[in-house]
């Protein structure tokens, strides 16, 4: 399985069209491997992006240097997915025990 340790989902709040375009420009930088969970389209609509641990610092610097506000929506994607897997395993074990 793909491992998402250290990856974060950032919620970006563009305040004008220029900031939307600056975030959109990240889409073209394929080496950053940013996964857009919601698309950069309109002012006032938050944009959620999943960023790898390796590129996290540079993306945050990019946003901050352009005065684009953001918050951390998910601090560690893998920990959420681990919990999801654990829950599925627990349920499967219960089902097996019952049958």
């Amino acid at each position: 399985m793909e491992n998402y340790s250290g990856q974060q989902v950032l919620r970006i709040f563009p305040t004008d069209e220029d900031q939307v375009n600056l975030v959109r420009a990240l889409e073209d930088l394929e080496h950053l491997q940013i996964d857009f969970w919601t698309s950069p389209t309109k002012v006032l609509l938050p944009i959620d992006i999943r960023v790898s641990f390796r590129n996290l610092q540079s993306v945050k610097v990019y946003l901050e240097s352009n005065n684009i506000q953001y918050s951390i929506m998910i601090h560690d994607v893998q920990s959420l997915l681990d919990e999801e897997q654990n829950e599925m395993r627990r349920n499967r074990a219960t089902e097996n025990a019952r049958s």
């Binding site: 989902v9 389209t41 959620d48 959420l80 829950e87 599925m88």
Partner: protein, 305 residues
Amino acid sequence: TDSFNYATYHTFDEINAFIDNLVNENPNLVSKIQIGSSYEGRPLNVLKFSTGPNRPAFWIDTGIHSREWVTQASGIWFAKKIATDYGKDASLTNTLNNIDILLEIVTNPDGYVYTHKSDRMWRKTRSPNSGSLCVGTDPNRNWDAGFGGPGSSSNPCTETYRGRAAHSEPEVKAIVDFVKSHGNIKGFVSIHSYSQMLLFPYGYTTARTPDHNELNTVSRNAVNALASLYGTSYTYGSIIATIYQASGGTIDWTYNQGIKYSYSFELRDTGRYGFALPANQIIPTAEETWLALTKLIEHTRDNLY
């Protein structure tokens, strides 16, 4: 299916076993139609809830984007709900005495299996792209409705890659062929996550559909019904006005095919967990969505055209 755990996420094989069990338990109400095969050869199964021949139909699909797990899980819950409530709930019984309900739970099976085995965050299909190492097409940009326009990408390495041609993906083509051959589908709902929205055409153009006002009113009633259970707030409106421009989308195509009552949901949440919605939210999500779906289905049933 009584002992099936609706409050957890399931694999493709488990969902198919559920489908077969539901059909076996309700042979006079539920049947399974295979409308095609995915790129990797998996069956594209549709559940048909029907009490008589030659009826108009209402289509629901979940999981066209594979990582949106709460949608497939909700689809399972809807299937059980329909089978359980027929003959008990007056409105649903009236519905199924007049129209069929068609439900495709795993609309992108290759992607769904891939999310379980390799990459939980996979969204697209799994078909290869000639000349590129990047795999997959966005099946919600692959429809022949403004295909290739803004809000879709020509780059196979992006999440919104439109594909080499409209209906290039077998998962999309199977629905296209089924809808055309059926010829009597009156309502169509394609279910996604996340953002808590109820959307209607268009997504590829700013032009309003001739039915804009009616779709808007029905959507308002549906989101009010949804909110009545747990207070979950949904926004609603045309895709382009509410969320963003997106070309080649499912419900723009179905609307242009003459299916007036075409809608799309974005289920929970609004951005705490996103695609990794905890399993303890599956049943509440399905329950509240069912209330909205019921409004859409009832309006279609009562306004056949």
